[in-house]
Every structure is written in structure tokens, then in C-alpha cells.
Symmetry: C2
Subunit: 249 residues, 2 copies
């Protein structure tokens, strides 16, 4: 039986608690939250603590707090030789302070309040300074997903940046596309099958092979037509810059 | 029975021929191709023509040729009062020249040679100058898909530009993400579930609501970390420009 405690009461903590409570071989020992009202109602009251001094050792403490709070919260945990893993993509393993064994338990995903979370499709990026700690993180991660990776802090930083491109920036392209549709009385729905197909394609083709459109086939006439059509200077700039970038590959 | 002829022997013509041959209520009358060797082998030989003067009237001629060739090819068809529809997103209905009735039969998609084409998910954007011609185009389009739209040339132009953003530019973000992964010895596969989820989200959420990441939450620390990480000036420029654009919405 692996004992796990959760520090935090936000969205990530919430999902971790719900999932861990149901796992065989895992005992959810304690949940630390300053605002206990936000925790799931069916969590046994005797496992909830809101003072650091009430925390007891567990095989693993998962720190589901904001990036800025990792150093301060880990340093405040009055235990020693405790394995503490944060859940942040953007923070180094060295953000864990105090006389602890440090780890990272990062789930690579885009959280949406409105959508159900299917952990089984989420890659888990794990890091630990000791091999035995890594093994324990791996055992816990495998309760969520088969996609478990050993990723060090440098690699994780690059994943975090790459994720901004393939998720946040991609979504912004959807925003710009929907704005163009709205400005021209066209339903955005018309683009949704194309959006799905574009994402589907790179599941099997390399993105470079999947590239289509006027930029990659150097269709100057169409590019000129499009730039003429775009009156918003920001849209024109983005169109030109990405077109150039496509043509450089 | 609706008679349809296809002009062209490229990828679009190929898919149209395969689909129309199987439809009840449609008779594929003729296929015009200069290079007949590229046509599907099981197409009856007596329906293939390679000289304009052998073309006979049909209820509809679908022009599946490159944008540049639409004017010249339509003008060369020695028939009159023939309904001819081109299949281009980037061309006006006025590109159809000669004494014909003009139409547009545009399938909004990203064609991949390597992937099977499921027409039923593709939106069909139709245009005609006469109501009865539109009805005929609609009947034929419904043999492919339920997603049939009446879209004029101005609207189609905006769809074509929006499609560049939500498909070509999105794919380029995948290219940049995969480059970052490669440069840092991280498997690109790790990002694929995130890519799927990002595309899935906007099927039900508006893109503006679905936006996440450091730019939209104005997380300056993370943005600075990312810019420090990106050494390639092109990547830095794109990162900065899209971050700014996100923050303006």
C-alpha cells in the first residue's frame, strides 16, 4: 500500500483526490488545504488538515499549488526526508525547498473546467533525484495513465514551451479564424471539420509532411489575395510572419 | 437521374469520380483528362475523353482543375448554356468564362494523399447565379455530405483565409513544437494528446473561452522564462507576436 498526501485545493488537487480515492493499492492519507470548503464533500473529515504541523509522513506528497507557491509551501512542511513532488510544467525540481527528497509529477494537458478529465490519455512527466523515488512516482502515475515518461527539468522546460505553441497558440489561431468568420457573416462551425482533420493528420503524419496551403506551395497569387483581404494590421502581420516561417522550413 | 461530368484528373477529380460512380440517381457521363493514364482503371473507357470537342452536355460539369486553369478551361468547353461549377475556395464564381451558367462546388477540407477521405464530414460550400442551378448543385452535394451551405464568393474568400489560420498556420505551430522537442531530445509524441484535446475543446467551447496559457493569464514570469529559453530569433518573434495578439483580445 502506497500512502499519498495532497497539498492544495485547486483544480489539479481536486482531480488528483477524486482519482486517488478510487485506486486499489493507494491510500490517500491527508489533504492539506487552507480553504477546506473547496474540497470534495465525501472526503473523510479526519484526513483534512489545514495546519502544516498536522501533516504526517507519507510515501509521497503531491504539491498541487501555483508555481509561485512551490518554494514557500515545500519549505514550510515540517518534516524531513519526505518525498515531495510538485505538479508544475514550468518549474524546476529545485523549486522544492527544505530537507526533503524532491520530485516532479507533471501532467501534460490543458485543463478545462467544463470538460471531463480522462487521465488515461494524459502523458505523465516524472522526475526524481533518487532512483527509488522515481520508481515510486512511476507506480503512482501508472494508476492514472500508461503514458509515463522520465523527463528532466531541462526537457520539461522545452515541453512547456512547445506546449504553448501546439496548444495556446493553436487555440489563438482558432480565435483569429472565428473572428474572420464573424466579420464576414460565416458560421465558424463550417471550419470545425477542418480543425479536427488538421489535428488528426499529425497523429500519423509528421507535421512537416502534413503542411498544406499557399505558403508551403509558394502560391504568391493567393497569398497576395489574402493579404489584400486582411485589413486588420495585426492579422496581416501574423499572416506574413507565419507564411515566412513556413517557407523557411 | 442527374448526369454529371468531371473535368480534371488530379486528386480532387479522382475522389469525386470514385464517389460519384457509386451513387444511385447520379450518372457519371464523361471524364475529361488530358493525361488519361492518371484516371482510375475501372472507369469505363468509353466515358473518358481528352478533346474538348468530344464533350457532350450534362446536367452538371465539375471543374476540378488548378485555380489558374479555371478561366482557360471553362472558356474552351465548346458548349453553351452548360452548368459548369469549379471546386476552388480561392476563386470567384466569375472565373467561369464562356457562354455557360456558372457555379461553385467547394469542399472545405485539407486533402492528404495518405489519408482516406470521409466526405460525410466535409462542408460543401455551393454557389450559383440561378436558383434552379443551386438546387441541382445541392442535390449532388447531398450525395456526399449533409453539411451543405449556400456561400457567395465574398464569404468563400473569407472562409479560405480563415482556413489558412485554423489549418495551415495551426499545422505550422505543430511544426515549431516538434522542432523544439527535437532540439531538446523529447519525443514529439508526448504532445499529441494535448494537440487532440486542444482541437476537441473548441467543438463545444468558443475559442475565446477555451484560451489558456501564460499569455491570457498575463503570467509575465513564465513568458520571460520562455523567451529566455527560445534562442532562435524567428521562434522568439512568433512567440512575442502571438502573445501580444492573445493579450489584445
Amino acid at each position: 500500500m502506497i500512502t499519498v498526501s495532497i497539498i492544495g485545493s485547486g483544480k489539479v488537487a481536486h482531480h488528483l483526490i477524486l482519482h486517488l480515492l478510487e485506486q486499489e493499492g493507494i491510500h490517500l492519507k491527508q489533504v492539506f488545504a487552507r480553504r477546506t470548503a473547496k474540497l470534495p464533500a465525501y472526503l473523510p473529515q479526519d484526513r483534512i488538515v489545514s495546519r502544516y504541523e498536522d501533516l504526517v509522513p507519507a510515501d509521497l506528497m503531491l504539491l498541487a499549488v501555483s508555481d509561485d507557491a512551490i518554494e514557500q509551501v515545500s519549505a514550510a512542511i515540517p518534516l524531513s526526508d519526505q518525498l515531495i513532488a510538485h505538479t508544475s510544467g514550468g518549474s524546476s525540481i529545485e523549486a522544492i525547498k527544505g530537507p526533503h527528497r524532491a520530485g516532479v509529477f507533471y501532467m501534460l494537458q490543458t485543463f478545462s473546467l467544463e470538460k471531463h478529465l480522462d487521465f488515461s490519455k494524459i502523458p505523465f512527466c516524472l522526475e526524481a533525484t533518487q532512483a527509488s523515488d522515481f520508481e515510486l512516482l512511476e507506480k503512482v502515475a501508472l494508476k492514472f495513465s500508461e503514458k509515463v515518461f522520465n523527463i528532466n527539468s531541462e526537457q520539461r522546460k522545452s515541453i512547456h514551451v512547445a506546449a504553448v505553441f501546439v496548444s495556446n497558440f493553436v487555440n489563438h489561431m482558432y480565435v483569429l479564424g472565428s473572428q474572420i468568420c464573424k466579420d464576414n457573416q460565416v458560421p465558424f462551425d463550417i471550419l470545425k471539420p477542418l480543425i479536427s482533420e488538421t489535428a488528426d493528420k499529425i497523429q500519423t503524419l509528421s507535421p512537416l509532411k502534413a503542411q498544406t496551403g499557399p505558403a508551403v506551395r509558394k502560391d504568391k497569387k493567393t497569398i497576395e489575395k489574402h493579404l489584400e483581404f486582411l485589413v486588420d494590421p495585426q492579422l496581416r502581420n501574423i499572416y506574413q510572419m507565419i507564411t515566412q516561417s513556413i517557407q523557411k522550413k
